[in-house]
Amino acid sequence: MTELNILYFASLREALGCSGERLSLPEGVSTLGALREHLAARGEGWAALAAGRNVRAAVNQRMAGFDAPVAPGDEVAFFPPVTGG
C-alpha cells in the first residue's frame, strides 16, 4: 500500500462534505500535523482543518498528537473532540 486511507467524522465530515479519501502521501509530509496543513491548504471547507480549529486525530485507530509520524499504508482519521457516553 502506497496510499493513506483518510477518514473524517461528525461535524468535520459535514464541513468537508467528505467522509474519507485515499491519498498518496504528499511530498514533504511525514507527520500528522504536516498532513493536516496540506489538507487545510485546499481552501474553502478544508479550512475546517486549519491550525487553531479544534481538531483531533488518530493514526491506525489510536489517538495521536500532530507530531505523530504518518507513512504510506496508514489509516488516518480527523475528527472533532469526542462526545460519547
Binding site: 489517538m63 475528527f79 472533532p80 462526545t83 460519547g84 457516553g85
Partner: protein
C-alpha cells in the same frame, strides 16, 4: 472483560448479574447507565444520533478497560455503548465493574466513564426544534479525566 459497541438496547439487570454470577469472591458491583436527556444546553432534544468510528471505538474502549484493570484489582468489567438514533430516556452506555471491595469497584467504574468521555470516538448530533447540531465537548469532561492523571502521579510518588 467484555466490550460491545452496538445499535441494540441492553438488559441492565442481566449485565449486572452476569458480573458476579459464579464468582463468589465478588463483593461489590458498581455500575453506571447513561441516558439521553430531553434537554441539552437549554434546548429541547427530540432525538440524538450517535456516530462512531467502527474498529477504533472497540479498541479504544478495550484499552480503557485494560488501564482500569492495571490500576485496581477487578474481577469483571463490562462496557456497552450504543450508536445510531436514540430518543430521550433511552440508554446510551453501560459500565459495570465487579471487585472484592466497593472502593475499587466505584473508582474503576467512574474512571472508565471519565476516560470513555474523552477518549472513545463517539459524537452526538442532537435534534432540537431549532434544527440539528453537533454537541460540543465539555471542558468539565476533560477536567474529570485529568483527575485520574493527578491521582496516578500521586500514587507513583508514594511508591
Amino acid at each position: 472483560m467484555s466490550v460491545s459497541v452496538q445499535e441494540a438496547d441492553f438488559d441492565v439487570g442481566a449485565e449486572i448479574t452476569a458480573l458476579s454470577a459464579g464468582r463468589a469472591e465478588v463483593g461489590a458491583v458498581a455500575s453506571f447507565v447513561g441516558l439521553v436527556r430531553n434537554a441539552g444546553h437549554g434546548n429541547a432534544v427530540a432525538a440524538m444520533t450517535l456516530e462512531h468510528y467502527p474498529g477504533m471505538t472497540e479498541s479504544a474502549l478495550a484499552e480503557i478497560v485494560v488501564e482500569a484493570q492495571g490500576r485496581w484489582p477487578l474481577q469483571g468489567v463490562r462496557v456497552i455503548h450504543r450508536y445510531g438514533r436514540l430518543l430521550p430516556g433511552e440508554r446510551i452506555v453501560f459500565v459495570g465493574v465487579a471487585s472484592a471491595h466497593r472502593g475499587a469497584a466505584f473508582a474503576a467504574c467512574e474512571f472508565i466513564m471519565d476516560y470513555l468521555k474523552t477518549r472513545a470516538p463517539f459524537w452526538k448530533l442532537e435534534e432540537t426544534p431549532e434544527g440539528a447540531h453537533w454537541v460540543d465537548a465539555r471542558e468539565s469532561d476533560d477536567a474529570a479525566a485529568s483527575r485520574w492523571e493527578e491521582s496516578w502521579e500521586a500514587i507513583d510518588q508514594r511508591r
